[in-house]
Symmetry: C2
Subunit: 448 residues, 2 copies
């Protein structure tokens, strides 16, 4: 990101020299996202000064790109009128996102001062549940009636374009505001000027409801290569539109959530590196405590085998190797199954088929690893010990791959997020069963 650093360095220099005109000129050709980055990197007092250099239109766009803490700091620094100017002109979905983060007191005050139209739009969005289509949609779309001609429509777009976030799709509604069709700007410009929207529109419109999960919205846009999707309410009235740029952010947030869950970190959409250490510890400690608890079961099992271990102390040396390998095999299986479920790659395959396949993979992998281990350890240990380790590896690998692949399905059928069946959990579950298997196999082979 060399652009931002360059802009930031020059901006800082110009501001320190008090050369505001120069700073203004510098920022003219720069993209809003880059200006936002440059402002974020400035000292706090400078941030407000730099922000005030922007034209009104640009200020909104840059503000929407700023990180929430900087947005909040600026709000506190600005005069009431300045704040209102910005907040009133933000797009409703970005404004709803900002209000989510601000203290309730500030939100109430700002809401009461917004223009009635904007207040209503924001209250509407904030009324939908988190992670639903209603929450991320924008009410700034163009809807038209089907008797309009192409020429009339183009005229209308010219006057509406600035008030709309998306103009590449035009939505056709009837008198009761119900969605009846869609016309892309592409269809419009290639159609002959005197046709009506009713003649050129597509009638079977792919749409979502306000309550649809945002991840499902993202999957639909990804599947059909759309630039936007219309959102309708229970009465099939058009209430908003979700654009592809929001969907990219949703997919990234969901991938981060999955990755965090796999790593045993609770995630709630906050940026990890911007939250305080105490919050970070809180997000991680519960998981660690649960795993520590299950690990004490492993300890109890080993403890109960003291007499065997005192007799053949070499057996203790292989416990981490066995539980470690079991955990790794299980993590592999759960990783591919969880990702498959979340990207819908696995939709066509049944649970039984997948678990059977993973069990077979576990058998192949365990067989190979067990053979290697038996040969290698028989060089330094008693053959019976090496053999116990080798056979245990096979059994543990099969068990781990079956557990790793079946538990995500189980969780999903219980209505829970399969990513919660994450690698650390499976690792620990496999630990407990792994040592049980190991000691039983060792006892059988050693004749205890």
């Amino acid at each position: 990101m060399k652009v931002n650093e360059l802009v930031h360095d020059q901006l800082e220099l110009l501001l320190h020299q008090g050369n505001l005109e120069g700073a203004k000129t510098l920022l003219i050709p720069v993209q809003p996202a880059d200006i936002a980055d440059a402002i974020e990197a400035l000292d706090e007092p400078m941030q407000a000064i730099a922000f005030r250099l922007l034209s009104k239109t640009e200020a909104i766009e840059v503000y929407e790109h700023l990180e929430t803490p900087v947005q909040q700091a600026l709000i506190q620094k600005f005069k009431r009128q300045e704040v209102l100017d910005i907040v009133d002109r933000m797009s409703p979905d970005d404004r709803a996102k900002l209000f989510d983060e601000l203290p309730a007191k500030v939100v109430r005050r700002l809401l009461s001062q917004l223009s009635p139209k904007e207040r209503e739009a924001t209250a509407l969005l904030l009324g939908y549940e988190e992670h639903t289509a209603g929450r991320i949609m924008t009410p700034e779309y163009i809807s038209l009636k089907e008797h309009l001609t192409v020429t009339q429509t183009l005229d209308r777009i010219r006057s509406l374009a600035n008030a709309s976030e998306i103009i590449y799709y035009l939505y056709v509604t009837d008198t009761s505001r119900q969605l009846t069709g869609i016309v892309s700007l592409r269809d419009l410009v290639v159609s002959s000027p005197d046709k009506t929207l009713g003649e050129i529109m597509t009638r079977d419109v792919v749409h979502v409801r306000t309550g649809t999960d945002r991840e499902e919205v993202a999957r639909l846009i990804q599947r059909y290569d759309f630039l936007a999707l219309p959102v309708v309410d229970r009465e099939f009235r058009l209430v908003g539109v979700i654009t592809v740029d929001d969907v990219i952010d949703v997919l990234e947030a969901e991938a981060t959530e999955d990755i965090y869950a796999l790593g045993g970190v609770q995630s709630d959409g906050d940026k990890y590196f911007q939250t305080s250490l105490l919050v970070v510890a809180r997000k991680r400690v519960l998981w660690l405590l649960i795993l520590l608890g299950t690990n004490t079961i492993t300890s109890t099992i080993i403890r109960s085998q003291s007499s065997l271990l005192q007799e053949v102390v070499a057996l203790a040396a292989f416990i981490p190797l066995l539980t470690g390998t079991g955990g790794n095999v299980g993590a592999q299986s759960s990783t591919v199954v969880i990702r498959g479920l979340n990207t819908e790659e696995l939709n066509d395959l049944g649970a039984v088929q997948v678990v059977f396949r993973e069990g077979l993979a576990g058998l192949m992998l365990g067989g190979f690893l067990g053979l290697m281990a038996t040969i290698y350890f028989s060089l330094t240990e008693d053959f019976v010990v090496a053999l116990s380790v080798g056979i245990s590896l096979v059994a543990i690998s099969v068990l781990a791959s079956i557990a790793g692949s079946s538990l995500p399905f189980l969780f999903r059928s219980l209505g829970l997020d399969p990513a919660l069946m994450s690698a650390p959990f499976i690792t620990t579950a496999v630990d407990v069963l792994g040592v049980l298997i190991y000691f039983n196999i060792a006892r059988a082979i050693l004749g205890f």
Copy 2:
């Protein structure tokens, strides 16, 4: 995905009844992606029959949505002319993707039979390295000269729209084909009809080079909320365009790659559940062998402590608990750091700052867990054993969080993918150091 299942069931029924007209009518309002899914779920002989029901234009779109194995099966079943009809009309980027998967012999034959224009376009794309902008761009864009007026441009678009994949951005080039500006269709329709493109175009165009990594392209589009990005060659000549729908697929593929790496599964873009078991085992075994190898070091360390373990056999019981917790803490740290590096959330923070922060988090978490463990185990064990376990937990947690957060940075500075420093690897590394710490602390406390 109820739509697909419905379509598939009805389609199958109609085909079995031999009612081809009915099947044709059924598919008319269905989206190409859904038709592709329905066809994939049919028996192989039926697939070709169903595919032949589609109109020429639709056939291309549906074909582009099919999974590669089905694409290949169809190619083998069709007559030469049918194949050519499809392949010649596919968009060059989708065609390049298909050719990547087909046997070299088939590709050579198909290439030689393509029309010269399409052959050249495909050969060009296939000439760029994998995972670069050049490989995923489409050469089907609209480029115009800056003296054209808005009206002339709209006329031109009308005739070009069908040959172009993206018409929402128009690119302005000079006589040597160098990119000089960009006009969005939005700008075009809101501008007065007699202005020239030169007057309304944006001159500082964000662009990428043919060699730019596809993930960087995706990040740029995500950052600026663009619908497409132009690709230029070394001489700054416009050679292609990358659209937002391709970028979504890139981001998803990259997230899958990261998740697989975290789970210790090698990924190369193939779909896991469509590859054979042997390939699956090959993708997973190397990693397991490496981890098994490092685990033998743990075994050797424990083996060397036989005399201590024979004396205090209880110590053996806590080894899995300690290495397990260390692995979990390390996995948490590496997960957040790896994800932060890959989504560029971490760009503003230095390595030292992050590792220090993670070390502190490890100290807090380890302190809490160690205290809990000491209290709990002193109920059933000698206090000195419980204390050894508690202190080891603190030390191992700090170590694990430092290792988990610093190794991804180390890997990146060596030019390697930080996701390779995955949780299983760190788990095993922490195992080795963890048992060393544990035995040394136990010896010190027990006075051996």
